[in-house]
């Protein structure tokens, strides 16, 4: 994704050339195809080869990553995985939250 955000559109061969000797041609082709199927890349036919470009900009991609990761993590609540400052299950109505704020103010006045 980093390579295609920097420069696009690119063929599989172009991406492989930028990755260097690290990956085989078929590995790069399979990875790009998977990213296309996930909706992260768009592609057009150019002769016999596909040319790929990002379907999302970097900021939008990061927003989606965070959204996909945070939702399930927080909904698990306190547990063996994480200790959250507030559990989403503790969310209260605005009226109830205001009543709690009044309680804090009353305690402050007592001190």
């Amino acid at each position: 994704m980093d390579i295609l955000w920097e420069l696009h559109p690119l063929t599989v061969r172009d991406v492989k050339a930028r990755l260097g000797a690290r990956s085989a041609y078929t590995t790069v082709m399979t990875t790009l195809d998977r990213l296309y199927k996930k909706g992260l890349l768009a592609r057009d036919k150019d002769g016999l080869a596909f040319v790929y470009r990002p379907a999302l900009d970097r900021a939008e991609y990061q927003r989606r990553v965070v959204e996909a990761a945070v939702g399930p993590l927080l909904e698990q609540g306190a547990g063996p995985v994480l200790a959250a400052f507030v559990d989403v299950a503790a969310g209260l109505s605005p009226q109830h939250l205001s009543a709690l704020e009044q309680l804090i103010a009353a305690k402050r006045r007592q001190r």
């Binding site: 990061q62 927003r63 990553v65 965070v66 959204e67 996909a68 990761a69 945070v70 399930p72 993590l73 927080l74 698990q76 609540g77 306190a78 547990g79 063996p80 995985v81 994480l82 200790a83 959250a84 400052f85 507030v86 559990d87 989403v88 299950a89 503790a90 969310g91 209260l92 109505s93 605005p94 109830h96 939250l97 709690l100 704020e101 309680l103 804090i104 305690k107 402050r108």
Partner: protein, 318 residues
């Protein structure tokens, strides 16, 4: 076959002891909830942990005592042949009892299922946390994630790390932000996630409903204890305000999801943090000493009466 039969027999005894002990532990926790609450969250937390870890230890001790007894008492099996023996050498008769085989197999399936579920949860969470880490910006000991949702949490057992969202940091005043981070740093210092995972593993074999009950008790008490730590490090009102501010954001999310949350959880935390004593009572230590004394007494009784206990269990189960 005899060894497998012995494993079934001892497995049934282990299960019986663990389920009975965890049911008794949960019952005592429920009955003594008020008394424990009066002693503070440290005592509540320790009681929940003891109720989780004592049953498997007790089960293992009973099985070890019975196995040792059968192995060292030469004439044990000749003394009575009217039931299956809890014996390391002659346990084949347990395989002829379908209920014993079914109970041992069911317990194994449930425990392995719970372990697999726990493992899947941990692996799924690890992948999500890695995804967050890749896009987070680290400032001091906090990884800041750009998100419209308000959250702040600690995750990781070996290297516990604090994650906070930009929405959470923006929503809080300076003193509230300091209070929230003090709460999370207290989790890191106390290695709470390590203990929480130990509780999860200890309750892989337990009475039905006990794992969830104990985990909730431990989680609730731990959060109030860390609120207190944060209150002592900063200001109780700042902690309470931070809790409310964080919930205001999540309340909007809960409403959008048509989710009706329980009302008491946050109220209890806010009231508890406002009543933070200057020094934490050391009631939790008394509880541990009491539990240890009870354990020693039970172990002593087990050693002293191992023969009649052994025979009684064989008569009851075999």
């Amino acid at each position: 076959m005899s060894a497998l039969g012995s494993a079934v027999g001892f497995g049934v005894v282990f299960l019986l002891v663990v389920i009975a002990a965890s049911a008794i532990g949960c019952g005592l926790l429920a009955l003594g909830a008020r008394a424990l609450a009066a002693r503070g969250p440290a005592a509540e937390r320790r009681a929940a942990m003891l109720a989780a870890i004592v049953p498997p230890i007790a089960g293992a001790l009973v099985v070890a005592a019975l196995a040792l007894h059968s192995a060292t008492t030469i004439d044990h099996c000749e003394a009575h042949d009217h039931h299956a023996h809890l014996c390391v050498a002659h346990g084949g008769a347990w395989l002829a009892r379908p209920w014993a085989v079914a109970v041992a197999a069911a317990a194994m399936v449930v425990s392995v299922g719970r372990a697999a579920l726990l493992l899947m949860t941990l692996l799924g969470a690890r992948a999500r946390v890695r995804a967050l880490a890749a896009v987070a910006e680290t400032i001091d000991d906090v990884r800041i994630v750009d998100s419209p949702r308000r959250f702040c949490f600690v995750t990781g057992v070996r290297r516990p790390t604090i994650y906070a969202s930009t929405a959470a940091l923006r929503a809080l005043a300076d003193d509230e932000r300091a209070a929230m981070l003090a709460h999370e740093r207290a989790h890191v210092r106390a290695r709470d996630l390590l203990w929480r995972r130990a509780l999860e593993v200890a309750t892989l074999v337990a009475a039905p409903l006990a794992p969830g009950f104990l985990a909730r008790r431990w989680d609730d008490a731990t959060e109030r204890l860390r609120d207190r730590d944060a209150a002592r490090a900063t200001d109780p009102a700042a902690v309470a305000h931070a809790l409310i501010a964080m919930c205001r954001g999540e309340a909007a999310w809960a409403a959008s999801m048509n989710y009706a949350p329980p009302v008491h959880a946050l109220t209890r935390r806010v009231e508890a943090v406002l009543a933070t004593p200057d020094v934490e009572p050391r009631a939790g230590r008394g509880l541990a000493i009491g539990a240890a004394a009870l354990g020693v007494t039970v172990a002593g009784a087990l050693v002293a009466f191992v023969d009649p206990i052994h025979h009684a269990l064989e008569t009851l189960l075999g």
